[in-house]
Amino acid sequence: MDQNQEKLLRQAKELNLQALAEIYDTYSTGLYGYALRLLGDPAIAEDCVAETFSRFLKTLHAGKGPKEHLKAYLYRIAHNWIADLYRRSPQQSLSLEESPELAHAVRVEEQVDRRILAGQLRSALFQLTPDQRQVIMLVFIEGWRQAEVAAALGKPVGAVKSLQHRALKSLRKHLVLSEGEVQYEPVRKLARDTT
C-alpha cells in the first residue's frame, strides 16, 4: 500500500472531512457503476453507494475499518449490500426495461440485443454464489487484478483463481442451458456483428 493511501486512511479514521471527501470522489463513481451493472437500476445503485459510505463512516467512527486495501473494502461492503438486497427481493433488480446501459448503443437493433443479453447475464450471475459473482464482476467487468480481488474477498489468490474457474464454468452453463437456444441467439448475433 502506498504511503498516500496509508495517510488517507489514517486521516479518515480521524474523520477528517478533506480525506473523506477525497475517498468519496475517488471511489463513489466506480462503486456506482459496479452497483448499477449488478442491479440495473440507477436509483438503487445510488442507494447502494450512499449506504456503502455510510457503513464505512460508522466503522471508522467505531475505531475499526480497513488498515489497507480501502478500495477492496468498499467494494466488499457494496457487494454485501447488493447480496442482502437480492436476498430480500430477488426479482427487484432484474428488470430489462429499466436497464440504462444501452444508451450508448448506436443501432436500435443492437441496443435491444444488448439489453436482452445484459438481462440474461445478470440472471446468470445471480445463480452463482456471492463469492463467484464478485470474482466475475471484479475481474471481467471492473477489470481488477486477481490480487486485488483476493484482497476484496479476504482470500488467497489461489482461492480466487479457483473461484473464477468454477464461476466461469457455471456461468457458461447457465447462459446456454438454462436460457435455451432462442435466448442464446443474441450472443451469437452480437458475436457475428462484432467479427
Binding site: 463513489s28 453507494v49 444501452l102 456461468l171
Partner: protein, 376 residues
C-alpha cells in the same frame, strides 16, 4: 462435448461487455451523495456529550445495544446458553413449587410444599421469625385437614403429626429464648392459637379429628399460659422434653426398629373414615399378658410418659384426671382415631403418646406430670 463449452471466450466476452457500458452517473447525484456523506461525517466527528439525564444511565442503552447487536461474540452465546439452562432448571422447579402451594396432604405435590417449608424454616435464624413461620405453617395444616374433611377424604397421619410438630417447635423456640422475648413469643403463640381455635369450623365439631385438633391446640394454649405464669418451670419441662425427643429419635434410629408400618391407608386407618383397628391388632400386643402401655417405652401412662409432659398444672389434674381415671388406657369411645399407644408413630415423633388418644390431657393425667419431676 458439453454444450456449455460451446460458448466461446469471444461470445462470453460479448456477454460481459454488455454489462460494462453504463450510463454515467448524474453530476447532481454525485454532489448530493458527497454532501450527504460529509454531513454524516461531520455529525459523527462532532464531540457530543450525553444529555444530563443520560450521563448516569448510559450503561442501560449500552447494555440494550449489546443485546440487540446483530453479531454476538462467542462469550455472549455461552452466557446466554447458561442463563437459558438455569431458567429452564429453576424455572421448572419454581413452577412446581408454585403449583404445590395449594396441594393437600394426599396429593403428590404436597411433598414439594413441605420441603419448601422446611427449607424456609432452616434458613430462618431469628427466633421471632421462626416462631411466626411455625405458627403460619400450623395454620396451613389445620386448613388442609379441614378441607380434606370437608371433601370427605381421608387425612394422613403425617399431616396431623406435622401440625403437632409446628406447634411444639414454636413453643420450644420460645422456651429457649431470653426471658423478655419468651414472654412476648408465648403471648404471640397463645393469641394465634386462640384465633386458630376460634376459626375451626363448628360444623365439624362432631368429627373426631376436629375434636383432636381442637384439643391439641387447647393443650398448647395451656402450655403457653404455663410459660407465662411460671417461665422457669416451662423452660425446665421444655428442656426435658427436648432430651426425651432426642433419645426417642436415637432409639428409633439405632435401637428400636421401625416396626410394622402403621401409616394409615385412606379409609382404613388413621383419621380417615372406615373401620378402626382394635387395640389387639397392634402386633406388639399380640403376646401374652400384653399391656399396651407397658409394652411401649413411650406410651402413655408410664413413668417416662408422665415425666415429659407440658402439664397445665396440679389444679387441672383432679378435674381432667376424673374424666379418665386410667392414664394407661386409651380414651373410651369408638371414635378414638389414634393408633394404639406405643406405636411407631409415637416413637417417631417422640411425643410420648401425649396426643395419641382422643383426649390426651384427661387420659394421661397431665396434671400429675408437673409434679412428677422432670428427669427423663
Amino acid at each position: 462435448m458439453n454444450q456449455s463449452e460451446n460458448l466461446p471466450e469471444t461470445q462470453l466476452e460479448i456477454c460481459f461487455s454488455s454489462l460494462r457500458a453504463v450510463v454515467p452517473r448524474a453530476p447532481g447525484a454525485i454532489q448530493r451523495g458527497r454532501r450527504d456523506f460529509l454531513a454524516q461525517a461531520s455529525a459523527l466527528a462532532a464531540p457530543v456529550s450525553k444529555p444530563e439525564n443520560q450521563r448516569h444511565t448510559g450503561w442501560i442503552a449500552s447494555f440494550v445495544n449489546t443485546l440487540t447487536t446483530k453479531e454476538y461474540s462467542p462469550m455472549y452465546t455461552t452466557i446466554a446458553s447458561f442463563i437459558l439452562v438455569l431458567a429452564l432448571m429453576f424455572g421448572g422447579s419454581g413452577a412446581a413449587v408454585l403449583a404445590a402451594q395449594d396441594s393437600l396432604p394426599n396429593q403428590s405435590l404436597y411433598q414439594v410444599k413441605t420441603f419448601t417449608e422446611d427449607l424456609a424454616l432452616r434458613s430462618t435464624f431469628r427466633n421471632e421469625h421462626r416462631i411466626q413461620m411455625e405458627l403460619d405453617y400450623a395454620g396451613r395444616r389445620v386448613t388442609e385437614m379441614t378441607r380434606l374433611r370437608e371433601m370427605q377424604q381421608a387425612i394422613p397421619e403425617s399431616a396431623y403429626r406435622r401440625l403437632e410438630k409446628h406447634l411444639d417447635q414454636a413453643l420450644l423456640i420460645a422456651a429457649r429464648s431470653g426471658a423478655e422475648e419468651m414472654v412476648r413469643s408465648l403471648n404471640q403463640i397463645r393469641e394465634r392459637l386462640q384465633n386458630q381455635n376460634a376459626l375451626l369450623s363448628p360444623d365439624l365439631d362432631h368429627d373426631p379429628l376436629m375434636i383432636r385438633i381442637r384439643e391439641m391446640i387447647q393443650t398448647r394454649i395451656s402450655w403457653a399460659e404455663l410459660g407465662l405464669d411460671d417461665p422457669l418451670e416451662f423452660q425446665q419441662q421444655a428442656q426435658v422434653r427436648t432430651q426425651f425427643n432426642q433419645q426417642a429419635q436415637f432409639e428409633h434410629q439405632y435401637g428400636h426398629g421401625p416396626g410394622p408400618d402403621l401409616d394409615p391407608e385412606p379409609g382404613v386407618g388413621g383419621f380417615g373414615p372406615g373401620p378402626q383397628e382394635p387395640e389387639s391388632n397392634n402386633p406388639e400386643c399380640q403376646a401374652e399378658n400384653c399391656d399396651p402401655a407397658a409394652q411401649d417405652h413411650f406410651g402413655p401412662g408410664q413413668e417416662v410418659e408422665e415425666k415429659h409432659q407440658y402439664g397445665p398444672g396440679p389444679e387441672n389434674q383432679s378435674e381432667q384426671g376424673s374424666q379418665n381415671p386410667d392414664p394407661g388406657q386409651p380414651a373410651p369411645g369408638g371414635n378414638n382415631p389414634e393408633p394404639s399407644p406405643g406405636s411407631n408413630q409415637d416413637q417417631e415423633t417422640g411425643h410420648n403418646g401425649q396426643d395419641s388418644s382422643s383426649n390426651p390431657e384427661s387420659s394421661q393425667g397431665s396434671g400429675s406430670n408437673k409434679g412428677n419431676g422432670a428427669t427423663p
